[in-house]
Amino acid sequence: MIHPRISGLFLIGFITLSVQCFGQVSEQDSSEIIQEEEDYSIYDNVEFSAEGVKRFCSPKIEGLSPAKLISFGYDYQFGYQISADTLNTMQSSTAFNLAPQDAQLLRSHGMRMGFNIPVISQTNLVWQLGANYWEQRYDFKDPGSLQNPLLKSLSDHGLRTAGISTTVFKPLDEKNFILFQGSADYSGNYSLKSMMPLTYLKYSAALIYGKRPTELKQWGVGLARTYRVGEINYIPIVLFNWTDHANKWGTEILFPARAHVRRTINSRNMLFAGYELEGQSYRMWNSSSVDGYDMRNDELEIRRGEIRLRMVYEFAVKDFVWMSIQAGYRINYRFDMDRLIGGQENYRAFGLIDDTPPYVMLNRLTNPLYLNISINLVSP
């Protein structure tokens, strides 16, 4: 038998605990309340509690497609013809005139992976580090008939690029910002068993000064060192991202690298039409011997540059997982071979510099349709 006073204490304790527990249930319910009656006009006229508070512009504008943090994709070019020239103006003792050859490709294809992780992501500074790996495999219709060293090497080894990159967005105030992007790419026909020295890294960079006059527009101008058309170039660049008031149409432009018109179906479904320049300089590190000739001795690089006219559909599969499907027409801009001794660049400035050595091999590619599909984790 419990003493009545003890029972009373237990009872009071139980009631108090019950009230506390009930309160917790109530607070869960209250989280569902969306709106309460309140005079919001009092918040029109406020001031910062602390002095010297500075506002900064955001790296994004309204309606812009989400940035990709992690991306896994696959790129597929339908069949096309490649016409490989002979090797001209070679100085190497092992070089000799190899017969030009036309060959039919059934497809060229490969996986593409990209990672872009925010290191510092704050109001006054955004710094991201990235890494990517792209490969391109060449499936010839009749690989046994290949006699040209370039074609045989493409068939045997393909091309690949692995790179690291960094992006820094520095807002200066509410309207002005500076954007820097830099990357180092390791491009060639190397393999895990036969890696190239880091001497052959290709460095690209872009620096933009920009303005963000409204939530719907940002623009900027700058300079870039780029390999997008295969060989090294220094070019002016223009950024122009814009969204209309209804958030139905917009542009996402970093000219001349890429330019797209965006049609926003809703915030989780977007269509794009435009183009991208794509390219890199690939070291011929793994050579396929043809009649005793080894390309590796001549320090050759393929200057690959192409224009991809395309339609892109991007949509949220679930929450932050987005899929991107693109289809288009790949137009060859350049697939010529340069001789770069020790990786030393030939800077031609689109032909404005006269005394640079000519390409040692001029090649032609017909233009196929292509598809690209990727699954992406997008940024907040």
């Binding site: 419990i2 003890i6 108090t16 607070e27 406020v46 955001s58 209804a246």
Partner: protein
């Protein structure tokens, strides 16, 4: 019997202390805050033991297309798309962890209709680091919010 009485009394006192304890340091989060872009103001309130933040001011409150007050039109739930943004509870369910940090909550981005995990860190009494993230904190973005007060 004496032992039982002591336990009961001790339990009762403990419960009383727990029930009527004064507000802890977590309440420093209460107030009105402005995100870095200056486009909105968010009032953080306490409901029960959790903290919630609702939009109380918008720099551009009128939808340029409908000419009506902006609604949550990007919400993936169609039933929510006509809910006014002003008054919308965009921060939910934060619990004070101590050490100037509130966690366990979510932040809603009305621009894309996405809800992210979120942690709030107070760096000084007038500054919050609001970090929205996906899964792990490394995959996220931090915004700095400043405290504002209504002018008298």
């Amino acid at each position: 019997m004496k032992k039982l009485s002591f336990i009961a009394l001790f339990s009762f006192i403990a419960i009383l202390i727990y029930s009527f304890a004064p507000a802890d340091g977590g309440d420093r989060l209460l107030g009105v805050w402005e995100p870095s872009n200056g486009r909105a103001r968010v009032k953080i309130e306490k409901i029960g033991s959790k903290y919630f933040g609702k939009i109380v001011w918008l720099k551009e409150p009128i939808d340029p297309v409908t000419k009506q007050p902006k609604t949550d039109k990007n919400n993936p739930d169609p039933s929510m798309q006509k809910t006014p943004l002003k008054g919308y509870r965009m921060l939910k369910d934060f619990v004070y962890d101590g050490n100037n940090e509130w966690s366990g909550g979510t932040i809603y981005d009305a621009l894309n209709g996405s809800t992210y995990s979120c942690v709030i860190k107070m760096t000084n009494e007038n500054t919050l680091n609001i970090r929205g993230y996906i899964g792990v904190s490394a995959l996220g973005r931090t915004d700095i919010w400043k405290r504002v007060v209504v002018k008298k």
